[in-house]
Structures are given as structure tokens and as C-alpha cells.
Subunit: 336 residues, 2 copies
DNA sequence: TTGAAAGCGATACCAA
DNA sequence: TTGGTATCGCTTTCAA
């Protein structure tokens, strides 16, 4: 009873209908061989009438090329991801590529499943990416473009990096805070549910540490909290203490917004008593009051670079690493 | 030089390495035939050593089943889409399915390209979905689950609908506004860039019209604006007029936020002089001031229903239509 | 110009 | 229990 796929029209059907050989149909479809005009017309007519579409699976199998990419990320729900995906999709569509997405999982069985799917390339934007995964993909001949890591020990064959500017961005923020007179700057890490992640390698933290060293400031780092509650209570602790910070550089906008909430509860004036900065330039950062100073990554630019790099990798097996355009967005939360 | 795919390990390699026939390898991999324990071990060992993964493309071609779904939507960037995708991905992962995404395009050539990719099923969440597309997919035997439309003239074979509750949601909002004493309620449609869309079929508008008829209220509908600027100027017109509305039910949160901005500019007090409601329960609606009364759709629930329906469609070719859970979220913008 | 035939990498029937 | 073989639908070489 399952007639689901019985309706599928194949090249054979077209050949029959047009009274030509199957090969001719392929030639006409691909336009790579000269076919006598009359036959070509018969084929085209049959294609139209039967609504024939060459089976992409069969073609991919034969060609060893699927025109299918995969985007792996920690957070499918972020504005950032959505914007990048959106920009990529537009380009990919015009290039006849398809893109799938999945949450990144550190599990070698999972990576093998992915390899089995025969993607031409994989994007990975994750803070918990490990070298083994990269090697695994490289060994399987899958082009891999990584985003968001500043550097990696050894970049395998068939692999390239897009530097998303986390390090540079954090530096811009800190410079700005410093220039505004802040000297006790707290770096507030986020609250997290997923304990897989290797936070301390985050370039933002590195940038913060480097900055403190340079300017000879005291390092005030709030470690990642296991829960929102924990985060709130820790932060309240920091802000109620004697020597409280005069600025908080938050891990991202989401975290910064939490900070703002708590300052409101505690009656601390922002930016009067405390400057606050975020990271990501989410919509929220613009609409919240006080509006949030933050770093914006040019997401279209990033998407473009990710794809350029990917295509180059697929073509040639090699590609230069790239860096994304970022911008400091000054708003109310750090004093005009 | 392109050794990209030379590294690919096939069943043949495993068979050779294990000293068995290719068929045996398949039997071991699929566990669907008894194989002498000793051979099985040899095969497993070879699989491990060579890091063999059955080629999913070949398998799909043979099985006429790709375990690959597609999500088509108007807006890849919305919070709603991200959340639904996220929830779906978790379930799909455990079922060994893959999902791709693409912006919905009304172009029969595009749909044909999609059909060529041999998806087992397609989700469509678009306000501009037309019956022809549906027929096309149905004819090709692709299971199709539609979201967001209240109803459609004729639902083809192999197709089901998830009612996202737009109509019910708008009614809840209007009831709430009415109960708060509002009698001149303006429905403010959004500003749009994509002129493809068939706005007037939006269930929110229908709900609004029905409501006005029921309560015998004057219909005040602001048509979709071609640009943000146009939207702002039209709205200012409405709010500066003599008989200005006492409530605005906006198309969605994004639109409502624009409304709030303009009220601020004009010095109109919300909710004192004017009640405002949104739709979607975005993060913004919670954090903005005044916080926004809105409708929340349970996105996990929606994802679950979409998948249940899809799987049933794929299995049996039929599935019941379903409705999503929605909730009225009362916040400051409509008075406490 | 054309078409038969050899794959691409799997599944599963049918004999042995 | 096993393995040869036909098949899934397509691309492309090679000979006619």
C-alpha cells in the first residue's frame, strides 16, 4: 500500500517516453554533450510532462560530491547563529548547496555518523571543539571550517579557521572602559548548564587577563556559574562587598542584562556607579534601558567569509584563515 | 592530487581486511542475519581498525529513505524558529534523522530542486504557502507538515497541519483588551520587505475581524507597511488623530516594540493612555519597559507535535491535524 | 552523435 | 550460514 515512492520518475521513464536512450537524457540534463536538436526537444518535452528531477542521491553517490554542508554549533537558538545562517542560506541557495544544522556533540560515535552522511564540508562553531574531532573529519576528507576559536594547536589538512574576533572585541571593550576611568574591572562569566565546555580557553578571558597584565590592574574574574541563581548570588556578593568594582565586562549581552537586573535590585546606578558592557550586540542590548555597550560582529561578513573559505577548501584542499569585522558599540551603560 | 575522497573506506575494504564476503559485512553492520561469531568478530575488528562508516548516500538510494528532513520558513532569524529547531534537533538526533533548513521560496523550480534531494519529509512554516506547492510535494511522495496556517482549501495526500494558534491567540489578546475596557482597538500590521506574502490570510487578522463583528466594534486595521519608515509615519498619523485608539494589538512583538518607541516619542503613556499588545513572547517583550503583554506558543510542544505528525505521515501516509498550546502573558503594557 | 557498460556503495533475495 | 547477483538512479568512458 505504501505508494509513497512509486510515483518517483526516473531517467529510464524519461528515456522511454522520449524514445531515446538513457544516456541521452543525462546529456540533455547536464548539457555537457551535443545532442541532436530534435532529440533534445523530445527529451525536454518528456521531462516537462513527467516532471522529472534527477535523483540527487544517486548523483552524489556517483560524483562523490553531495553539495551538502553541515553547521555544528553549541547554541542553535542564538540571534548570532540565526543571522549567520540566514546570510549563508541566501548564498548557498544560489550555489545550489544545501545546509543542515545540528548541535555540536563531543562524541566520536556522533562524528562518525556525520561522516557517514557524506557532507562536502562542516562548519564548527563551538567552545568545546577538540583536536581529535578535527583529525577525524580531516582523515575522512571532510572540509572543515572552524569559527570562534582564536587559535588551535595544530590545524589538520583540509581545515581552516575563521577568527570571530572575541579576543579583539574584548580588548576594545576594556580599552573603552579604561579610557572612561574604570580601574576595577570585573569580568563576569556567564551561567551555564552544559558543563562540557572548556571556558577558560575562551579568548575573551585571555584578552581580559592580558589586559590586566598590561595595565597592571587587579584581575577580578567571576567563574562560570552552574546556574542562574548561583550567578545572581555570586554577583550580589561582588557588588555588596567593600571594594566593589567600578565596571563589569560581561561574557555576553545575556549575562550583561542579568547584571543590569541585579544592579536595579540593589539600587546601583548604571553607568553612574558602575559601567557595564556586554558582547554580541543582540537586539536586547539596544532596547534595554540603559542600553548596553557591546561588541558587534558583522554577521553577513562572517557568513561570507565562512563560505568563501569553505568553497576554497573544497576546491583546493587549502584556505587561508580569516578574521571577521567587529565594532565597538558605545551605549548608555558605559556613560554615553 | 585531490585525495579528498581517496581516503573513503568502503564495505569492500572491510570485507577484504576481514577475509569475508561483502555481504557478511552488511549483515554484521545491520545485525539482521545470523553470522558465525568468529567472522563477526573479524568484521567488527576490521570496522574498528579501518574506521569504517557505511555510506549513507548509498544506503538511502537503495532504501528509498534518506532519514533527512527539511524545514522551510519565512524567517530563519526569529527566536521562535530557533527554539523550535533546537527542540526538534534533540529529538531528531536520537532518532538518527538529519534536518536541513531553507528559506521558503515560491518558485516551482525551487520546489523541484528540493524534491530532487529526496527528503523523507518537509516542514513548511510560511504565510505565503500555496496549494500548488503542496500538490507538487504530495505528488512526489514527500510527507509534508505545515505550520501556522489555520486552514487550507484542500489538504492533499501525505500532508498534515499543525495549527500554531494564531487565531486563538489573537482572540485571547482581544478579549483581554476588551475586558480592560478598550473599545477602539487598532490592529497594527507589521512592516515588511518581502512583498510575496499574502498577509490578509493571516489568522490574526481574521480573528480581529471576527472579534470586531462579535463585539460590534469599529474595525481599525493598519495595512502592512512596505518599510519601517512608512510604518512609523502611518502609526504617528493614527496616534495623532482626533479619535485615536485606546489600544493597539500589534502583529507581533517586534511591531509592538516599534509602537512603544513611537509612543515614547509622542509622549503617550502606556498603558495609561494606550494599551499595547504583541505576539510571540520574545525575550525582548519581557525585558523591554514597559514589559509587553503577548501570546506565548509552547515551542517545545510545537516541535514535538511537528515531529510526531511527521513520523506518522512517513510511516502511514496519514496523520491527524494538531493544535499547539498557547498562553496569554499579561504584562505591564496592558495595565498590570 | 550515440549508446552499452562499468562503476558509485550499499541492501537483500535466492540458491547453495 | 553464506555469498553471488540484481538493483537503487545516475555519470562518464569508450567504442561504434
Amino acid at each position: 500500500m505504501k505508494n509513497k515512492r512509486k510515483t518517483r520518475v526516473t531517467r529510464r521513464d524519461v528515456a522511454e517516453a522520449a524514445g531515446v536512450s538513457e544516456t541521452i537524457v543525462s546529456y540533455v540534463m547536464n548539457g555537457n554533450r551535443y545532442v541532436k536538436e530534435e532529440k533534445r526537444q523530445r527529451v525536454l518535452e518528456a521531462v516537462e510532462r513527467l516532471n522529472y528531477q534527477p535523483n540527487h542521491l544517486a548523483r552524489s553517490l556517483k560524483m562523490q560530491k553531495s553539495r551538502h554542508l553541515l553547521f555544528l554549533t553549541d547554541d542553535l537558538r542564538s540571534e548570532h547563529f540565526g543571522d549567520v545562517m540566514d546570510a549563508m542560506e541566501t548564498i548557498l541557495f544560489s550555489e545550489n548547496y544545501l545546509i543542515s544544522l545540528s548541535r555540536y556533540r563531543t562524541d566520536s560515535g556522533y562524528i562518525n555518523d556525520l561522516i557517514a552522511r557524506q557532507f562536502d564540508g562542516v562548519f564548527i562553531s563551538s567552545s568545546s571543539l577538540d583536536t581529535d574531532t578535527l583529525k577525524q573529519l580531516s582523515r575522512a576528507g571532510v572540509a572543515t571550517v572552524m569559527v570562534q576559536r582564536n587559535s588551535i594547536d595544530e590545524v589538520p589538512e583540509n581545515c581552516a579557521i575563521i577568527n570571530s574576533g572575541l579576543y579583539r572585541g574584548e580588548k576594545l571593550l576594556l580599552d573603552h572602559l579604561y579610557a572612561s576611568g574604570c580601574r576595577r574591572i570585573l569580568f563576569a562569566n556567564r551561567s551555564v548548564s552544559d558543563q562540557n565546555e572548556t571556558f577558560w580557553e575562551d579568548p575573551r578571558v585571555t584578552a581580559y587577563e592580558d589586559f590586566c597584565r598590561e595595565k597592571n590592574l587587579e584581575k577580578l574574574i567571576m567563574a562560570p556559574s552552574p546556574s542562574d541563581e548561583e550567578f545572581r548570588s555570586r554577583l550580589k556578593g561582588c557588588l555588596s562587598g567593600k571594594e566593589r568594582p567600578d565596571a563589569i565586562s560581561a561574557f555576553n549581552d545575556r549575562t550583561a542584562v542579568e547584571v543590569l537586573r541585579i544592579t536595579k535590585e540593589l539600587g546601583i546606578n548604571v553607568p553612574g556607579d558602575l559601567a557595564v558592557s556586554g558582547f554580541d550586540n543582540t537586539k536586547l542590548s539596544e532596547y534595554i534601558s540603559p542600553s548596553l555597550t557591546t561588541i558587534s560582529v558583522d554577521r553577513r561578513d562572517m557568513a561570507q567569509k565562512m563560505l568563501d573559505t569553505m568553497f576554497e577548501l573544497i576546491e583546493t584542499g587549502k584556505a587561508e584563515d580569516q578574521s571577521c569585522n567587529i565594532k565597538l558599540i558605545k551605549r548608555e551603560s558605559t556613560g554615553i
